[in-house]
Symmetry: C4
Subunit: 123 residues, 4 copies
């Protein structure tokens, strides 16, 4: 049995899916999750907006002893994806402890730009 | 009733509004706030400088169950904005717990550069 | 005797070695370790993947009162390096407290992009 | 009397002063310090290397209710600056609590790249 590591609740206030890509890379964001344990982790993602009610219960599974780098553009709620070009924020609630990092590649202009943060954990 | 999450006091030592933009994007900073609770959050922002007294009591409201990505160039105190091209630091005090991330897009040169950090919380 | 500082267990969910470099710089990641103490630190690195079992027991030594900026491309297990172009995650377990930061330089396109995070510590 | 905020001891494992600048901006790193209190803060900086003993006791003062964005290239010990193009790590010890963020602008190639992290605090 491998140990569970991290926390069950994580937040990322600065979410944004760029509308435009140029050059050889596609603009994208990734929610990077690590599950060190011997059990699958079930994640429940909530998306908060500036001007409308949250999208709730976007579900993701991360396997035992696996990482998953989740493209936010792949998340959807009954077929509806997260809108592009709109500021939003992310809550990730997991049934077991995990570790979460958020990274964004922006290739709106010809060259890419990168940013990354550890998500903010709540104990 | 949704739970309050995070802390009431956050700091960002590296604030800077670039003077120049080029290419298709405008240089800017964002203070990205998430308010997960069922109540509005009232933020009181203080701006610290290297060579003069702080600007105090810049007020911002973040709605219940909403995020707000605040452009620092939109903040002002009785009509006076934060000066551009000057190093500064940011204190955000909220009446209820929130979560704060800071990001900067610098397009001083032709291509953009990105950086982001979680603000530093005080319990 | 100098004090040990930091934690013994650190995680970085977003690992990725870019496949392509262009311009004057080589794309690379660094695991930057600081050992403030008077004793050598022995690090045991585990690499987690999305679709296969972890690579375990990649060993690194960091001298007393020294930093080491470890290129992930230099890590290997019985001659097998970390694969390029594949999302992965990193666990660093040390026999004494250390401090760990992770940085990536991506020069996939003509100009470089940088990102950096403090690794996530477990107490 | 304004409150002291933060911690007295901070670490940044990934220090590096780029050797080359191009385009309109100079490559540089900044240690960004915020002193929220009514008293001056006296900082004692230690620089750790990969292959030689640390440089100790580089002193910096940060005024009361002031921020200071310290260029690492401005730090020196009896006239000797931190060497460029060499990996190093930073310890900042303050006589009163402060908050520390580290940022790097790299303009080695024609366009700039940015990275930033909160320094790692020890309680």
């Amino acid at each position: 049995m491998y140990k569970q590591r991290g926390e069950k609740l994580w937040f990322i206030p600065d979410g944004y899916i760029p509308e435009i890509s140029s050059g050889g890379l596609t603009s994208h964001e990734s929610i990077c999750v690590l599950n060190t344990s011997s059990e699958e982790a079930l994640l429940r993602v909530t998306i908060f907006f500036e001007d409308r009610d949250p999208m709730e219960d976007l579900m993701v599974v991360v396997g035992a002893r696996r990482t998953k780098h989740i493209r936010t553009s792949s998340l959807h709620k009954e077929g509806t994806p997260i809108p592009v070009g709109v500021p939003y924020a992310i809550e990730i609630a997991s049934d077991i402890p995990i570790i979460v990092q958020y990274s964004r590649l922006d290739s709106t202009q010809a060259e890419n730009a990168l940013m990354s943060v550890m998500a903010f954990p709540i104990k």
